[in-house]
Amino acid sequence: MKFLLVCGLAGLLGLLGAGLIGIWPRPEFPDSDPVAKAWGVANAVAAVVLGVRLWDTIFEVLVYVVAMVGVRFFLLGMRWHGELPPVAETPLLRRSADLLLGPVLVFALYLVASGHIGPGGGFPAGAILGSALLLLALAKGVERLSAELYEPRLERLEYVVVVFLLFLGAVVLILGVRAPAAFVAANLLVAVEVAIGAWAVLHRFASARGEV
């Protein structure tokens, strides 16, 4: 076992050395601007993620959803039975959460809306939305927030979003629709998906372990 590891590490370092002395040719890649122009957007990465490789992205999102279903399944019924330590009810935390929540939400929406013309897109926007939900949970307490955000409904929304994404994929790839609106819609769907998944994980972990 240790021997195999040493061999693997030596191989990795060998690859590094080979790269450093220039054994690998590093081919010039084609200009990406025509790709972006062909899809009618400015961000070539968005054109690849949500255009050329949209099908791939949809199934990556599906992998994400399946992993979240796994988390829900494994932590199902695991609730913390010991005494619950009080949530940090400090005015500072509450006030700063209230203050930060608006700007964070606006920033996430901005990332969704401008994902096709600049850096951003659904994935970071979803992660930021998930963090915003955690911020709320920190201020309000997990129990109260999960009572307000009824989870089964969120879970259903998650699956509906997947269906919408598949539908969008069909529209874009089969009918050949190439419009910035399709990018914004795809970014929005991805962001909602990632945010719900992140919230589910954080909420499950918090309620299984007792506190945020």
Binding site: N43, V45, A46, G82, L111, G118, P119, G120, G121, F123, P124, A127, I128, G130, S131, L134, A198, V201, L202, F205, A206, R209, G210, E211, V212
Partner: protein
């Protein structure tokens, strides 16, 4: 140039995070490492990746680790009661060892569960994996194959004589070695005390703290006591297969001793 600086910083943070001993610092270090990597992606002309890495790698991943770390599992402590080291108080538990153990559990990110068992049962429970720590006035026996921490509190063995009769001791404890061939072995010090009080045994080998406990309970009015030669000490027992727990526990105790908290605790509980 900026890229090289960021690379060095990222590598230093990764090494700091992964070679440390405390999991919490590892998680925080990996989060910071992730943030530096996001800066590196920005320099490498990949702003999309940088944004995603900053939001996911730094934000969500760190949160998830911290949530999972809050309490991952519990430590089961098998112990027999001994005032003032570890004893039931009302519905709860108190004592010097309990204080140390709760602090250690918080430090090690575990919950603590205590089961009261006879002293003779503890080594078996530890070896079978049903318990992770032995405590409660535990006198180490080097031959029984368990791993022991440094003694928390030194003590001496003492021979208590009430009258004529066989000599009693506790099985599995070093006191057992001082029982003569005709003597009786008991599961626990409490049983030994009862047998002594009822006159089933005439004399008993025990330690100074238990002798104090027995005198405080007025088990006997007058007894002849005699110190047995040899230095002993109460320690915590860890199963030999649980190297990581042992390492962490000894390290925690060393920290506690260095910061002077251990001395403070000893003063508070033992005067």
């Amino acid at each position: 140039m900026v890229a090289v600086l960021l690379c060095v910083l990222a590598l230093a943070l990764a090494i700091f995070a992964l070679t440390g001993k405390r999991l919490l610092w590892g998680v925080i270090g990996v989060g910071a490492h992730s943030l530096v990597l996001a800066g590196l992606y920005l320099v490498l002309a990949a702003p999309d990746v940088a944004l995603t890495e900053a939001a996911v790698g730094f934000g969500l991943v760190t949160f998830v680790y911290l949530l999972a770390l809050r309490r991952t599992g519990k430590i089961v402590v098998a112990a027999s009661p001994l005032y003032p080291l570890l004893y039931p108080e009302g519905a709860g538990i108190a004592g010097l060892e309990w204080e140390i153990l709760t602090r250690f559990a918080r430090w090690y990110h575990r919950d603590l569960e205590l089961i009261w068992v006879p002293r003779a049962e503890i080594p078996r429970l530890l070896r079978s994996g049903e318990a992770h720590l032995g405590a409660g006035g535990f006198l180490p026996v080097p031959e029984d194959g368990l791993a022991y921490t440094k003694p928390l509190l030194p003590t001496r063995l003492v021979l208590v004589r009430l009258g004529e009769g066989p000599r009693g001791a506790v099985a599995g404890e070093p006191t057992g070695k001082h029982a003569d061939p005709t003597g009786k072995l008991f599961e626990d010090a409490a049983e030994l005390a009862h047998a002594l009080a009822r006159g089933e045994v005439g004399e008993a080998v025990t330690d100074l703290l238990r002798l104090r406990e027995w005198t405080m309970q007025d088990l006997f009015s007058e007894a002849e006591t005699q110190l047995v030669p040899g230095e002993y000490g109460f320690a915590l027992a860890v199963p030999p297969q649980d190297e990581e727990l042992y390492r962490s526990l000894t390290e925690f105790l060393a920290e506690l001793e260095k910061s002077g908290e251990l001395a403070e605790l000893l003063r508070r509980y033992l005067g």
